[in-house]
Symmetry: C2
Subunit: 359 residues, 2 copies
Amino acid sequence: MSADGSKRKRQGGKADTSNATAASGRVRTVKEIAAAANVSVATVSRALQRPEIVSEATRLHIQEVVKRLGYTPNALARNLRTARTRLIVALLPDIANPFFSQVIRGIEQVAHENGYSVLLGETQSSLVREQAYADMVAARQADGIITMSHRVPAIPMQGRLPVVNACEYVKDQQISSVYVDNVAGARAAVDYLVTLGHRDIAFIAGPPASPICIDREQGYRLALEAAKLPGDPALTAVGDFSIEAGERAIELLLSQGQSFTAVFCSNDEMAIGAMRALASRGLRVPQDVSVVGFDDIRFSRYMTPALTTVAQPKNALGREAMSMLIELLNDPEVPPRKRVLSADLVVRGSTAPCPPRRA
Amino acid sequence: MSADGSKRKRQGGKADTSNATAASGRVRTVKEIAAAANVSVATVSRALQRPEIVSEATRLHIQEVVKRLGYTPNALARNLRTARTRLIVALLPDIANPFFSQVIRGIEQVAHENGYSVLLGETQSSLVREQAYADMVAARQADGIITMSHRVPAIPMQGRLPVVNACEYVKDQQISSVYVDNVAGARAAVDYLVTLGHRDIAFIAGPPASPICIDREQGYRLALEAAKLPGDPALTAVGDFSIEAGERAIELLLSQGQSFTAVFCSNDEMAIGAMRALASRGLRVPQDVSVVGFDDIRFSRYMTPALTTVAQPKNALGREAMSMLIELLNDPEVPPRKRVLSADLVVRGSTAPCPPRRA
DNA sequence: CAGTGCAATGTAATGGATTACATGAAATCG
DNA sequence: CGATTTCATGTAATCCATTACATTGCACTG
């Protein structure tokens, strides 16, 4: 039972005369390893893929040769043959938005627990870019994708697409989605402002194409209605989720002479922009104007004042999305689901009771 | 010259009897397309890869069939054959750090200009994760990598590794790196504090394993020396670049009873943490303590007060890194370079003249 | 009109691994 | 001890596209 490989038998003995490039430091193939180890390519492949079905002596010998010669199997060839890559692509709209980074973490955790690697593709919300990354699935370079936009990229396949939707949701009932109850979250935020006595509550909406934005706006409206507040449409401004958009929205409202004592923003970054714009107009947060955001990104608690916001369970969103995708990859028959998590208001320093009405 | 494909000639005529799965909506291969279009696989391949060498009639006909049947070439097979993927992997230590997002933007811009796609791999500074992504190159799944850590992953290849190093640098002279002059940047920051009259300047260092951190510390020391200031080692605390580390560092210094009127932090996130910790101890920034960061992340200007920091040319770092990598992929003979960009101090509100010495 | 060159297309080798099937030896059974 | 499993390994087909080389028809030349 010596593992030194000196007694390879059952073999023609055409060992070293092979055309293997010997000790040169180049790219190896199974063939070369097989020749060097004096076994067949099948045995090399088996020794690496399912070591338990190869005799111990052979296995150790092959492993030694692999190590000595420095061999990494060509994943393209492997994946071509096996028709799976154990790679998934996560499409994220904006790498600069810290909200997504926590979601990604959740995705990666579950992926690694299940032997998958995650590649990130930044799309900047561009359809073209989304499609380009999605094509990797069609081209068999990845097994599935998690998209964080409200669109489902086209993948020419029949049956269930290996796509899961996170943080957003798509109408298509064939696609599983994980997202939070944006209506309830927004409603909770605005309810809270109402409790504080605010009556003139402005709203900075997000991109109207996105369902979650519509939901957040609806939550805002429902809260106003419940409080029997008029809800002046002129108190709503639209932004694109960027800090700058938040600043511009406030500038706009103020320059229009709108008066309000609170602003609810569709995300934290716009809230951060709003706080800055208010400050530069000499309005104090929260004494003059209360500000609430949505998402609870990492930086929000470090603002001055710390931002009151609706926290999304970012890690859970990611974990759940990846779990669903793996489930789907393992069994294309599992029925699609829309999973809704809850978003909770986190009260910090940017909100305060409504100031006494200025004459 | 009719493009309807009705006059395919020079062909055995064994057209439709093929085993192609006809109109079923499944995954296609060249063979099926060739059969459906009544041409050879070579012609299909050519019509898609180099349309100009195929007659117009045939090309249009094939394109129509491809479109109708919904065919996407298997990239694995293609890449296996051509031995290139036009994919590069960018290893980023921490997706949550906004500094990197701008660098990524630069990388992606140049990549797309040159027909490459970028996949991001988050490593969380873990050697294992770095290696896992780097193995994709060894496994021929990607053409090259840009690493933003101070380590070069092992890739069993002879000659130049298709690796470029950005934001950090490695001693290995065979690897091209792009980074800023950290010594000069740090020095400028501390010089500025000196100019403001500060004499007791604390320093929050980054992970000591990282060369750029050593450089930033050196810049700090050089500035102190130049100003003939003692430079008490007890005024230095070490952090790991996180916001929390910045808070802890300040807590530590204060609890040790250290007195200082300024802090220079090795990155912005630690500076943000520092500001918060100072505030919660009742110390005002900048009246009592000035704070300077490094990087100029997006959120820094939105802090209250806005953070004075050393700005890195993030986009340029990314663009330059990708340019170097493409150059290297096109010609493995190009000599490696270490490219050093400059980092400039951006003065904002977190720094002020040294307060009069308290009794 | 034979000869040459070019354009368009086809045939088959190729890339590197996995794996179904085949084979031989050893172990087990009755 | 012959028959039957089981184990370890080998041979060759396969995954799918690209491309070197071969072939064919046609236009053009002298």
